[in-house]
Subunit: 206 residues, 2 copies
Amino acid sequence: MEFSSKFLENAVYEVSQLPGIGKRTALRLVLHLLKQPERQTEELTTALTNLRTQISYCNNCHNISDTEICEICANPKRNKSIICIVEDIRDVMAIESTSQYQGLYHVLGGKISPMEGVGPQDLNISSLVQKLKAGGIEELIFALSSTMEGDTTNFYIYKQLEGIEIKTSTIARGISVGDELEYADEVTLGRSILNRVPFENSIKAN
Amino acid sequence: MEFSSKFLENAVYEVSQLPGIGKRTALRLVLHLLKQPERQTEELTTALTNLRTQISYCNNCHNISDTEICEICANPKRNKSIICIVEDIRDVMAIESTSQYQGLYHVLGGKISPMEGVGPQDLNISSLVQKLKAGGIEELIFALSSTMEGDTTNFYIYKQLEGIEIKTSTIARGISVGDELEYADEVTLGRSILNRVPFENSIKAN
């Protein structure tokens, strides 16, 4: 692509650095901004700058938060003896939207992934182990993605728990609600049979 | 979606104002920026601010340009007696990439679209008519999209040409190179038969 303006070329280049956005989409977005009032571009850049420079993380669970302790950790109604380990804030938001969980979270900030150069020291694992050693936690729920990286991370953390007495669990893997059995993959279907639950439980959940 | 941070919520909102980007994609993009070095967000916001505040348009053809007269209009090798009317800079870039056109352009900045509240006065039409009245232009090529808005705009401009002696043409509509006849729509196929060209022309073009 040849551009008639360095400013345009530069803006398109920077926008196309975002994941999943190619040069053509970037050009479309940038031309859209040009057609809108200047105010819109200002608001966008101010919001991004504020986010990047003023963002902070909860001292306790490492979730994104504007206060030192996030709302979830500060809520006296939450059960502080259960911790759910998740990858990032999107998983916290997803679990919160179910209204089924009343414990606290611990946000790792990623998964162990040698391919992407992410090791255990890049994640919030040591603070988790410290928290568990300090006592008062009864159950640890592993809620990472069901991928090789997720399983590796689960296993690494599990190994760190040696000598700490704590109940551990993982979220259930199974057939999605509303899905047809014949289209499910064998691994998922196999797990959902192995980990079957009493029929009364499924009635209660509805 | 409930956010744990006002900064995050604000950034996601502003990014999701861009066309074709929903809240989920916006959250993904914003979290990506948070994981990258602060420098990347700075470069992005600076590029967008520079574009929006320092962009200028060619005085002659209204194309985006860093100079008062764009490179195409300033090029002495271009044929200044032919003008090709296009909608926006993307069309200029598309035609330039074919290397088949040596004339100048006139960028309208949009199409007449009552549905979106765009009338003739919002487009660069009066400057085009002035340019044509001043003389020296032999041919005007209409190269707008083949949609109802494009046709309306073409017709509006054509009406403005009354009293001006000038040759007008539109780019050819027909079957795409490499396309199979059986999958072409009837209107396109019909036009490509009506506007058939001497066989020797198609040999020369290859």
